[in-house]
């Protein structure tokens, strides 16, 4: 078409402007290194973990051009869904948040990408800032890094500072003291509403978190020589659960029900936390979540009335040769504090972001970067102060210089010190106990152990029957998976650095 030359000349600058504008737009932050890359993330329905992931996905997308899709499943289905996805070769997810005990299953079968090099080349993730204990338990398997830690977990005991303080009662150091305190306050009105409350609230519902909380009791009877000794198995993968130590732990578990709500064996995790934060319990056992939930004005009636201590211990411990409980002394309890053996239990271990090894290079890189983005101290150190994120402290910097963030979140300095102090005590304890992390740990603890404990509490089995049933079941499992394989996995999980 014949457009006059003049016209062309007029068009040219406009064209240049447009091209220039596009060029400028092309260089703006929205086009980044991961343009066109899609990372499908799978996690459990939040808000814990899912809420921060969704929040950071938006930021990450804007900064790098990647597309992050977050799919959530009910917690109880996450393990099977993720495993089915990789084991059948479907591979619809490139990044999976997995519980530390599950990492063994995914890593041993080769589904988890090896991130060792990426970590080594990434100063921003501040690898050394992550507490060695969590690095090993949450992120490593057989010497390789297979996940990015985004959360660290272990359990503590909480108590009402106002109630116990008024009577000058010190927080419990042994399980016997725990029961005494629980008995003392059971039936009293602890939150001023005229209804009698309870001495102790522990979530013992079946298929819930009860097994993890229980193992925190068990460990103090069984493990004395340090993390490397382990809680669950002896030589040749013989289960250490058919002895007086297990019996003592089961006794505690059952007796504590007398001082708790009537349906404690159907009390789920949220129910237990709600009860404590609405002031109905004098004592509770839980992860760090109760601490941050207790300072939340939207849900808590016990703000500034909550203290925490590391898990109580026992003055009688297991003699592994005889299976009997013997009193603590310097030889058998080298880590005892004032004659009491504590073995704080890193229940659950923590959440790990695992990259699917079947994804292509670019997607793996994007997935790793997203996980590292979430784990980065600048963001993570704030997240751990908010209960809604579900992230509990796992970095040194979250304990040390983080006080400003804790206070900003609503802790009083006293409450924060108590809370963090209990955590630090636990993590510093050389006798800290590692959660079970072998192949199909889920079956050992959440299926078999959970069932046996539940049946014992319900009276379907006697203590001896429950222990024997569990022992047999664990032997059966180990035999079918392979004793050597499991022994190697178990040893690897215990070889954690301190």
């Amino acid at each position: 078409m014949a457009i006059g030359r003049r016209r062309w000349l007029g068009v040219l600058p406009a064209l240049a402007l447009v091209v220039g504008a596009t060029g400028v737009a092309a260089q703006s932050p929205s086009t980044g290194e991961y343009d066109g890359v899609t990372v499908n993330v799978v996690t459990f329905s939040g808000p814990p973990i899912a809420e921060p992931l969704e929040r950071y996905a938006v930021e990450f997308e804007a900064a790098t051009g990647a597309t992050i899709n977050i799919t959530k499943y009910p917690f109880s289905d996450l393990y099977s869904k993720a495993l089915a996805d990789v084991a059948t070769g479907t591979n619809s997810f490139q990044l999976m948040t997995l519980a530390a005990p599950w990492v063994a299953d995914f890593a041993s079968a080769g589904y988890a990408a090896d991130l060792t090099d990426k970590i080594a080349n990434d100063p921003e993730i501040a690898w050394d800032d992550i507490m060695p204990f969590f690095r090993d338990i949450v992120a490593q398997y057989a010497g390789k890094v297979v996940g990015v830690p985004i959360d660290g977990d272990f359990t503590m005991t909480y108590y009402r500072t106002d109630i116990l303080g008024a009577d000058g009662v010190a927080p419990p150091k042994t399980w016997d003291e725990y029961l005494q305190i629980a008995e003392k306050y059971d039936g009293k009105d602890l939150n001023g509403d005229g209804v009698p409350d309870y001495g102790s609230c522990i979530s013992k519902a079946r298929s819930g978190v009860g097994t993890w909380l229980f193992n925190g009791v068990l460990s103090s009877f069984v493990q004395t020589m340090g993390t490397g000794q382990g809680t669950f198995f002896g030589d040749d993968m013989t289960p250490l659960i058919n002895n007086e130590a297990m019996g003592a732990a089961l006794d505690f578990w059952k007796t504590s029900m007398e001082f708790g709500p009537p349906d404690e064996n159907n009390l789920d995790q949220q129910g237990g936390r709600d009860m404590f934060t609405s002031g109905r319990c004098a004592l509770a056992i839980d992860w760090g979540d109760t601490g941050v939930l207790a300072i939340d004005p939207a849900t808590s009636k016990v703000i500034d009335k909550v203290g925490a201590v590391q898990m109580p211990g026992s003055t009688n411990v297991l003699d592994r040769a005889t299976g009997k409980l013997v009193p603590c002394d310097a030889t058998i309890c080298p880590n005892a504090i004032d004659g009491v053996n504590h073995a704080p239990f890193a229940a659950f271990g923590g959440w790990s972001a695992v990259v699917n090894a079947a994804a292509d290079e670019k997607t793996q890189a994007a997935a790793y970067d997203f996980a590292a983005y979430v784990s980065n101290p600048t963001r993570s150190n704030i997240d751990v102060t908010h209960g809604v994120t579900g992230m509990n402290p796992y970095r040194l910097s979250q304990f040390g210089d983080n006080m400003a963030n804790w206070v900003a979140a609503g802790f009083s300095e006293a409450a924060a010190s108590s809370y963090l102090g209990a955590m630090k005590d636990s993590l510093d304890n050389p006798n800290m106990a590692v959660d079970l992390r072998i192949l199909q740990s889920n079956n050992y603890t959440n299926v078999a152990e959970d069932q046996a404990i539940s049946q014992f509490l319900a009276g379907e089995l006697t203590k001896e029957e429950a222990m024997q049933q569990l022992f047999d079941k664990w032997q059966e499992l180990t035999d079918s998976i392979g004793r050597e394989v499991q022994a190697a996995a178990y040893a690897a999980s215990l070889g954690v650095q301190r």
């Binding site: 099977s80 084991a87 079968a109 080769g110 298929s207 064996n265 159907n266 199909q440 319900a458 379907e460």
Partner: protein, 396 residues
């Protein structure tokens, strides 16, 4: 109604015409003149699409599950491997470490338990002898009945020692059976009553009908959580009532039979509309002529119901009870959400037990439990079809 129990020797009978007889009659194929010039085509086109859909999606999973039930599945590098182990899974369930879990713990039967066992066994013996005497049965049928009878006797013994026994507790098999039969019976009676009520000349029937349908509309997981909320001792609406009555330590879900009762109540609440809607459609579609005539003659409502309405409803009732019974055996959402199968294993149904194994990726054991359930339900189904369906439907 003698026609209802006739054997169906189709070729030898012509069409039997009867007016408002709701139990249908036999018809010989009378191909119409214009069935696309091929009566056979018409017949096949009606039925085969349905059969093919089911065939393809049914056969493969059935066989695959059988393979899984006879294997051990484990994870290996790059996938999973399936090792054939024969009947190990089943042996564990019935003879090994899971025996008390599945079959329960036998106690000593109470007096009532003895009555039930001995009475039931006596009835079965009488029925069996009568069948033998009647000579109308083939040898295969006799063996089938003998085996079935024997299993029923074992079942009665199990009931007497676990459910009605002191010191015993029922296993998942017995609990599932209790759920299925009690749930079906209660929902049927309620559904029937409601259907009859809502077809009477009362005000507001439309409103009531819609309301009564509602429980079925709620997703089962939702119903389960709803009842979980209702039975919660901290947050539930019923707890203050217990407290006012002085039972502040009462917990329904903490007690084995209390928890089972909660499951049954929730199940009945949820599934009554199923019976209701089917029976309502049947009642609405019936011909009222006979009933009108009887009313004019002065018969009481009860007489009319028992002699005219009920017999017309029997075929539909038999079918809907069978359908519901089969579904009821698969109950899982309610015990899972209410108590996770607890306290202990008190409310675990077979499907829940299978699901728990499956969640731990023990696919072999899970499939074995599922197959056990399949066998149980098939036996119940065959027994039911033989004794009830054949008698209530003249054809098929």
């Amino acid at each position: 109604m003698s026609s209802a129990s006739q054997d169906t020797r189709l070729e030898s009978q012509g069409p039997v015409l009867s007016g408002p007889d709701p139990v249908s009659t036999v018809r010989v194929d009378a191909p119409a003149k214009s069935d696309w010039n091929n009566p056979r085509l018409a017949r096949n086109l009606f039925l085969w699409p349905a059969l093919i859909v089911v065939l393809i999606l049914a056969i493969f999973p059935l066989i695959a599950s059988l393979v899984l039930a006879l294997s051990k599945v484990s994870l290996v590098k790059g996938g999973f491997k399936i090792d054939f182990v024969g009947l190990t899974n089943f042996r564990t369930l019935f003879l090994g470490s899971e025996r008390t879990h599945v079959l329960g713990q036998a106690g000593t039967p109470t007096l009532f338990g003895w009555l039930v066992f001995l009475g039931g066994t006596a009835l079965l013996l009488v029925a069996f002898v009568r069948t033998v005497r009647s000579r109308k049965i083939r040898p295969l049928g006799l063996i089938g009945r003998a085996v079935g009878g024997l299993l029923l006797v074992l079942l009665l013994w199990s009931v007497a020692t676990t459910v009605l026994g002191s010191g015993g507790r029922p296993g998942t098999l017995m609990v599932t059976i209790v759920y299925a039969f009690s749930g079906t019976l209660l929902t049927y009676l309620l559904g029937l009553g409601l259907a009859v009520l809502t077809t009477q000349r009362l005000r507001g029937q439309r409103f009531f009908r819609i309301v009564f349908l509602v429980p079925l509309m709620i997703t089962p997981v939702g119903v389960a959580y709803m009842f979980r909320m209702l039975t919660d001792t901290e947050k539930g609406p019923i707890t203050p009532l217990w407290r006012a009555a002085g039972l502040s330590d009462f917990t329904l879900l903490g007690d084995p039979w209390g928890a089972r009762l909660a499951v049954i109540i929730s199940d009945v609440w949820q599934w009554t509309p199923f019976m209701f809607i089917v029976l309502l459609a049947a009642l609405e579609g019936r011909d009222l002529e006979t009933e009108e005539a009887a009313t004019v003659d002065g018969a009481s409502k009860a007489r009319i119901f028992l002699n005219i309405t009920m017999p017309a409803l029997i075929p539909v009732s038999a079918t809907v009870i069978l359908i519901r019974l089969i579904e009821a055996f698969k109950i899982i959402d309610l015990p899972n959400v209410l108590t996770n199968g607890g306290p202990g294993t008190a409310t675990e149904s077979l499907t829940l037990q299978s699901f728990i194994s499956w969640r731990g990726f023990d696919l072999g054991s899970s499939a074995a439990i599922a197959y056990t359930l399949l066998v149980v339900v098939t036996m119940v189904g065959i027994g039911y079809a033989t004794f009830i369906i054949r008698r209530t439907h003249s054809m098929v």
